[in-house]
Symmetry: C2
Subunit: 322 residues, 2 copies
């Protein structure tokens, strides 16, 4: 929680307080107010700007002089580029050779310098860590870092202020940085508010790890919720945080994620990325499986809105589940 | 202006103050701050909720008892259904036989009763007016009504509050209800703020009418900005308002509207309808054609976000102009 407040005081001037918008469709279906916390409208189009800013603004002038390196994992590369520009540093962003050109353009637009290393995101992250060690520069982790987690937690502070009768929060879990930060911020101030993690059923490494009591290495299937896909770093501090802070955890089927994605477009007028649609679907899945509801307002964190044109075209072209 | 304040006091409890979000891409390109006023996030997904609410809340109990009828023109049908639900009246919404099923579902979800009349929006509007006369019930015009225009003007009040250094506003013009209301609100309080109307070049009936000094009947070509397409009602009060209130008027080419639509998705993370993309494109077109810029912030009104899945699929599938 101290990390959240430290992040808040460092990063606030460069962050948007994103709107929490009533969901007409989901509120009607669940019979209780549901708000959508629109991190898709945050700078760089995702919550990742919060953590990256918190981290970069915590670096010493000497560390900044030596430089910053990170890897493209989802929106994190763009967020670090954005944060770097604010402190006048052009970060190195290592990307795999099949990286999405839209993301590369976004990184470069924010002043990041792209280097291609490896053929997937694990390889480029390893290369980035190696470069950091070799050259004595700072590697910025997407989630295994207290300052990054503290930055994501500023969403929790905003929610507590925006939603006086907040009862539950649905938050997507990949590496767990977002969920750890949000849960820390909320549980410190309002322990009765339930924080519920969610992951796609096809790639729920943290979910299975928490159930097993240890971080597992396990395969992931493809998912529309690509922002939360993939493995979990051994020894990540998010594991212990989530184990102690989350009230519950729900996994979501692909067909429900896709339905949520289309419903968000057509009924809520929001274009979000798969992981955000996953959290929206999770609120529905969870309500369906519960006998009783908490009193008060449910918030769903729409973690980001970065959807490339090709991806969008693909999702719309699929006919299943309609 | 009195109508705007009356609308504000009637409708405010049921309206969202929509966010005005910085446009990173357009601000960088224009070299001056540009804010996007997100009416796509308004109830029902468009500014039309403002005018419809203002009008319905101005009806007497006796008028409400007799009932309300309107026609589906863009988002207006849904907005009237939304407003009707608030006062406990289920409006009749006349639609043409080829109406978009997504829009019909939205009207019914808000409690409106759909009736099919005619084969295009002009015919169903005529039928709705006839029904209103025959049955002594109230017809709600999409733009030719002072209470409706006053409702749209509440956007202007919000902008003046949200943007202290507001210098210019770009606002889409179809029938002219939105532009009349916004211009009235802004010019009354801050006459130096420039209000610039915009229409697609292929369907710019009000633009040509204002130049000619009289409302013209003229053909319209198809446009991605379908929310502003079509003819202008003879004798509409918006004509005189726009003639006296607008500072300038710009027409926008289809390729520029399409580019704006895709840029809003990929760079601003906003899914908007064609007429909103048209206003965004207008700010760029206008800046390109002007020798000098005003000091201060430019606001672009993103009028709505209702894009059906099929329409979205079509736009993404077209390859031209990329």
């Amino acid at each position: 929680m101290a990390e959240v407040h430290a992040a808040e005081s460092r990063a606030r001037p460069h962050l948007l307080t994103t709107p929490a918008i009533a969901s007409a469709a989901l509120s009607a279906e669940l019979g209780a107010p549901v708000l959508l916390k629109c991190e898709n409208l945050q700078h760089t189009g995702s919550f990742k700007a919060r953590g990256a800013l918190s981290k970069v603004l915590a670096l010493t002038p000497d560390e900044l002089d030596r430089g910053i390196v990170t890897a493209l994992t989802g929106n994190h590369g763009t967020a670090v580029a954005y944060a770097g520009a604010i402190v006048g540093v052009a970060p190195l962003v290592f990307v795999p050779d099949d990286a999405n050109p839209t993301k590369l353009a976004a990184i470069e637009r924010h002043g990041g310098r792209v280097e291609v290393h490896g053929s997937d995101s694990v390889e480029s992250e390893l290369a980035a860590r190696r470069r950091a060690e070799d050259d004595g520069i700072t590697f910025i982790s997407p989630y295994n870092d207290a300052a990054v987690i503290g930055g994501q937690g500023t969403i929790g502070l905003e929610l507590l202020e925006q939603v006086p009768d907040l009862a539950a929060v649905f938050v997507a879990v990949g590496g767990g940085g977002l969920a750890s930060g949000v849960a820390a911020a909320i549980k410190a101030a309002a322990p009765a508010v339930r924080v519920i993690g969610c992951s796609p059923a096809t790639s729920a490494v943290m979910y299975h790890s928490l159930r097993a009591g240890a971080i597992l290495e396990m395969p992931s299937e493809p998912t529309l919720s690509d922002g939360t896909a993939g493995g979990v770093e051994p020894g990540t501090i998010t594991f212990g945080l989530l184990a102690s802070l989350l009230d519950d955890f729900v996994t979501v089927e692909e067909r429900d994620i896709r339905r949520a994605f289309l419903e968000l477009i057509e009924m809520e007028h929001l274009l979000v990325e798969g992981s955000a649609a996953m959290a929206y679907a999770a609120a529905r899945t969870y309500a369906r499986d519960q006998a009783s509801h908490a009193e008060g307002t449910t918030a769903v964190i729409l973690s980001g809105g970065n959807v490339g044109r090709e991806k969008l075209r693909q999702i719309l072209a699929e006919r299943g589940g309609e």
